[in-house]
């Protein structure tokens, strides 16, 4: 198009400049890296707006800060699948990351880019879920044990007889498949237990609450509920429906811990699935950069916090943080890996 008037030409110039200025201006807010300190850590995450994942990223930043060896943490955080994550990993490599902590969207689709990272000397640590790339290190919760430990507690609680509801996460996601495997392992040992309903909550608290409400209102007799971490809305649903509480297996979500301490008649356990696994991955990455050896696959054994045992009560009380949101993953530290303070984690600021 041709601009006939000076005004239009002005606007055009202004826009061209402002378009560039917006980009440049925003980027200018990033602090320039100091040259003398050492490492740059990249983070790649492809599920945005999820409390657990945000906390995971915060734990990376906190651990990087606490280590004192990291100059900056670069975060590639957007919704997407393997295609977007591949691009993000490449960009993090370009950005000069010495190590990348990644929560993978697929166990195998990132292998090619991980191999490329390795060939450029970039360490890759996959957290929360495993990748199959031989060059990568993994730090995950033992999800089979997660399913198995919680289910076993529930079936014991019911004395091996009764109707249970299995509330799973997202179909096809490795963590969900593994937890279900663990659940099935426990179920085999208790033939008197019947799974009357299986749902997929999509790991959404509102969805899970609605599903259990439907089940309770449908008149099915429910003696116990196993959840893949969608817990406190289940307790709420029992109260909404005016049903007698049954034993509930949840995760270490802040609000659920509160319920375990305060709701009358609630018997339950919190099985840990720490979001601070990001901090574990970061600690591993820094060790690798320091040329120390770390295990190829760090598997965390979930803890089971029972609200009727002394040890469980103590753990629940110690990990509950009144200042944190309901869905906050309450296990703040994974020793011996994480060295940050709770304050550093909560402030979510990298070096």
């Amino acid at each position: 198009m041709k601009f006939r008037s000076r005004g239009a030409r002005w606007v055009a110039l202004l826009v061209a400049l402002s378009a560039v200025a917006v980009v440049a201006g925003i980027t200018a807010t990033a602090s320039p890296a100091k040259k003398q300190a050492s490492y740059v850590i990249g983070v790649s995450n492809t599920l945005v707006g999820n409390g657990w994942r945000e906390e995971m990223i915060c734990s990376v930043k906190a651990q990087a800060l606490a280590s004192g060896k990291v100059t900056s943490v670069k975060v590639a955080n957007r919704n997407g699948g393997p295609a977007e994550q591949n691009a993000d990993l490449r960009n993090l490599i370009s950005a000069g990351a010495n190590a990348i902590v990644v929560n993978p969207s697929s166990p195998s689709a990132l292998n090619a880019v991980i191999a490329q990272a390795a060939s450029r000397g970039v360490k890759v640590v996959s957290v929360d879920q495993r990748v199959t790339a031989p060059e990568a290190y993994n730090a995950t919760n033992d999800q089979v044990a997660y399913g198995q430990l919680g289910a076993t507690w529930l079936f014991k609680q019911l004395k091996g007889k009764g109707n249970v509801v299995e509330m799973r996460g997202i179909a096809g996601v490795p963590a969900d498949t593994d937890r279900h495997t663990g659940f099935q392992q426990a179920l085999k040992k208790y033939p008197g237990i019947k799974v009357v309903k299986q749902t997929f909550t999509g790991w959404q608290f509102a969805t899970g609450g609605k599903q259990i409400l439907d089940i309770l209102n449908s008149g099915v007799k429910v003696d116990g509920v196993w959840t893949s971490g969608i817990d406190y809305t289940i307790v709420n649903a029992f109260r909404t429906a005016h049903k007698k509480l049954v034993p509930i297996v949840g995760a270490d979500n802040n609000q659920f811990l509160k319920q375990l301490m305060t709701v009358k008649g609630l018997r339950g356990v919190a099985v840990t699935n720490p979001a601070t696994i990001g901090g574990v991955g970061t600690a591993m990455a820094i060790k690798l950069l320091d040329k120390q050896s770390v295990p190829k696959w760090v598997k965390l054994k979930p803890q089971v916090w029972d609200n009727a045992t002394a040890a469980g009560k103590k753990a629940i009380k110690a990990n509950y943080s009144p200042s944190r949101p309901p869905t906050y993953s309450a296990r703040l530290q994974v020793k011996p890996w994480t060295t940050y303070t709770s304050k550093q984690l909560f402030s979510c600021k990298g070096p």
Binding site: T29, V48, K74, N77, P82
Partner: protein
């Protein structure tokens, strides 16, 4: 801007003022791209062929998606099913190519392209026959293709032979020439250039700018609209195949991202939503602009939510300029 007839006239008698008017937007987008490229290459410490590769890999599917959307918009329609058609082709290719030889994978890819074009033609036929607005029919098709994609592959999986992946992620001759970029240019040269100035291409523009006038001039309006959707389907198929080649996996949800981003790239690239205006070179550059903005923000370590804010701002600003310029021209 101008109708097909004027386009032919412009070709016969080149007129600098008219050329500037016709291609100003495209030139503008390329200048913006150039500025971003120049800025981008100063950021990484060791900027090199790896980074060029990264950009090409990242932008390739979006560039094809933008082409798919642009063709349809130029013809006066809009295609909301682009994204899920991409997903469908992506999962189909990844599911079946994984055990194929390179030759068979290529043949299968061609077959999928034909199928994808047929799927587009089907959508177009539905629109023409039912007389239901484009946006409604393509919205419905969005769900149809997305459902089929999930039916074929519930979770990300599949793959493709290594040599096929090289088409998307490798390089030709020199590491500085990403194969994906060359394939993009090839597809543009094969599927668009010959059409652009031939009968079907001109019909596309005339139907897009004024359907009645086109009809009165003897252009087969129904046929042309179906053709536009078929061509859009073909480009969407290329996007799906490119997605398999660049990500190495089939993902039933992978296409979601491209539904609205293809519209964004088209608009940013100078295609007017009213139809009949624009080309495909602009949207291709716009796809790279959108990708580069995101890349630069990662490189600078800025929160990526800003990338979306900036992309939105960029579109509003650019479209506003276009509108202002047109109004100015109308006034003088």
């Amino acid at each position: 801007m101008s109708t097909a007839a004027a386009g032919v006239a412009a070709r016969v008698r080149p007129n600098p003022a008219r050329l500037a008017r016709r291609h100003g937007w495209t030139v503008g987008v390329y200048v913006l791209l150039l500025v971003l490229l120049l800025y981008w290459q100063t950021i990484p410490a060791n900027w090199g062929s790896f980074d060029v590769q990264s950009l090409a890999i990242d932008a390739l599917p979006l560039a094809f998606a933008a082409m798919a959307q642009s063709v349809v918009i130029i013809s006066g329609g809009i295609d909301l099913s682009v994204g899920s058609l991409i997903s469908l082709i992506n999962v189909l290719s990844a599911k079946y190519m994984i055990d194929m030889s390179f030759r068979n994978a290529l043949l299968f890819g061609l077959l999928l392209l034909v199928g994808s074009a047929a799927a587009g033609a089907f959508t177009g036929t539905l629109i023409v026959l039912s007389r239901v607005p484009d946006i409604v029919v393509t919205l419905a098709m969005l769900f149809v293709w997305a459902g089929l994609a999930l039916e074929i592959l519930q979770i990300p999986g599949g793959g493709a032979p290594q040599s096929y992946l090289q088409l998307g992620t490798g390089h030709w001759w020199s590491p500085w020439i990403p194969s994906g970029l060359m394939i993009l240019l090839l597809a543009f040269a094969i599927f668009w250039l010959p059409l652009r100035w031939a009968r079907p291409g001109l019909a596309l523009y005339s139907v897009g700018s004024n359907r009645n006038a086109a009809y009165l001039s003897g252009v087969g309006v129904a046929r042309t609209r179906i053709f536009a959707y078929a061509l859009g389907g073909l480009f969407a198929g290329l996007a799906g195949l490119a997605l398999s080649a660049t990500s190495g996996i089939g993902d039933p949800n992978a296409g979601q991202y491209y539904t609205l981003n293809s519209v964004a790239a088209a608009v940013l690239g100078g295609v007017a939503l009213v139809g009949g205006v624009g080309g495909l070179i602009g949207p291709i550059a716009a796809a790279f602009v959108v990708t580069l903005v995101k890349t630069i923000l990662i490189l600078k370590g800025v929160d990526q939510n800003w990338a979306q804010v900036i992309q939105g701002t960029l579109i509003i600003v650019v479209v506003m300029i276009g509108g202002l310029a047109i109004r100015q021209r109308a006034r003088t």
